[in-house]
């Protein structure tokens, strides 16, 4: 290291970059304890199969992921073949819990775009989740259920959103929502903070989908 204090700007930058102070051992110990305490729960969420309604959730995931591609424009790199391959995967995660810091969100997000917490407001509880990868785009899907017969899959695609076109377009608060039906499932897709979101469900009206999709947590919209 330098034998005299750094004087010039370049010397100071070099000095700053050369500092290799180790964190105190007690901090290392506390972090290790944190990891030991919380890692099992984090990994359990990631690895535990969803028992309730697994097949329904899986089927909806296939629908949701496929529709992302149906609606995507050219040049995104997303292909139908890869989507089909995705639908053959069965990695699942347990349902994300309510975000303890925000009662309108679940403790799951894609690049900062969080999945909504609908249970208290609409009676839709989260039942499971999965993460797939489409040509470099991570697609995280959270599944919701109401009662024993209604299911919804809510997918958020990571990265720059592909172009969305087609379907019946309705606009709310300046945001266009594209509606269509696929394999008997009602589907709505739109953009949130530049991320493509897709919600698909059986036995769910388009009005209900619209209310869910456009709900911003402020309680302004009706189910």
């Amino acid at each position: 290291m330098s034998e005299r204090p750094p004087h010039t700007e370049s010397e100071i930058v070099e000095f700053v970059r050369s500092i290799d102070e180790r964190a105190p051992q007690q901090l290392h110990d506390r972090i290790e304890a944190l990891v030991a305490e919380r890692a099992p729960a984090v990994q359990r969420r990631r690895l535990t199969p969803v028992r309730l309604g697994f097949s329904g959730a899986f089927a909806l995931a296939a629908v949701v992921v496929a529709l992302v591609l149906v609606l995507s424009g050219g040049g995104t790199g997303l292909t139908l073949n890869k989507t089909v391959a995705l639908t053959l995967r069965h990695a699942t995660m347990a349902a994300p819990a309510e975000n303890p810091h925000d009662g309108t969100e679940l403790a799951a997000d894609v690049e900062g775009v969080a999945f909504p917490y609908w249970d208290d407001r609409f009676g839709w509880r989260s039942t499971g989740a999965r993460i797939d990868h489409l040509d470099g785009h991570a697609v995280q899907t959270v599944f919701y259920a109401r009662g024993h017969s209604q299911w919804i899959g809510y997918a958020i695609v990571a990265g720059k959103a592909p172009a969305v076109s087609g379907g019946v377009v309705r606009e709310r608060e300046g945001t266009p929502y594209h509606f269509l039906t696929e394999d008997g499932a009602s589907v709505v897709t739109w953009l949130r903070a530049g991320h493509l979101c897709v919600v698909a469900g059986h036995d769910v009206s388009k009005a209900a989908l619209m209310a869910l999709a456009s709900w911003d947590g402020a309680g302004m919209l009706n189910a």
């Binding site: 290291m1 204090p5 700053v16 102070e21 990891v35 984090v42 993460i131 990571a158």
Partner: protein, 196 residues
Amino acid sequence: MRDALRSEPSPDLMRTLDPHSLNKHVDRLYRAAWALCGSREDAEDLVQETFARVLSRPRVLRGDDELYYLMRVLRNTFLTSLRTASRRPVTAAAIEDVVAADPKPTNRPEQAYEVQEVYATISELPDNFRLALVAVDVLGLSYREAAQALRVREATLTTRLFRARKQVAERLGADVAEIRREDTGPSGVLSSEGTS
């Protein structure tokens, strides 16, 4: 050394964060937090809070960008702590609140003063400047990674970094000059008196 644990992120590959992989970043985060806070004790708290946030739920990362992601969370935690502190009533510190100096503050005792001085100087910069400098020079992120972590354009990051480095240099240069004057003060005074 500083880049031995890192590799360029694969921009398109997404994966979930392995909590056990975080331990290797503690030292680097600690240095970043120290430079942000200017105090080792506050840095420990900031690092612990940062890891607690990261570990609160499963995380999806892009490529191998753990450090970039940690910097983003560190930044958010730091800014939140600043806002919280600004709302807190100001109280005067009692003598029993003053933390005794760590008898072994550094691996190289001869550098302890310099490191503390430099980090303290960085911590006095405006928030945006110090975050830029910490992200690039302390944490070792690329300009692109740093810009993404701080949610600014790369050009903005570059400008802030340039100004931050300049201000640190100026402030440290002033300190050095003052120390020199103090060291040579008595003889200088005598000399001055002798010529008058």
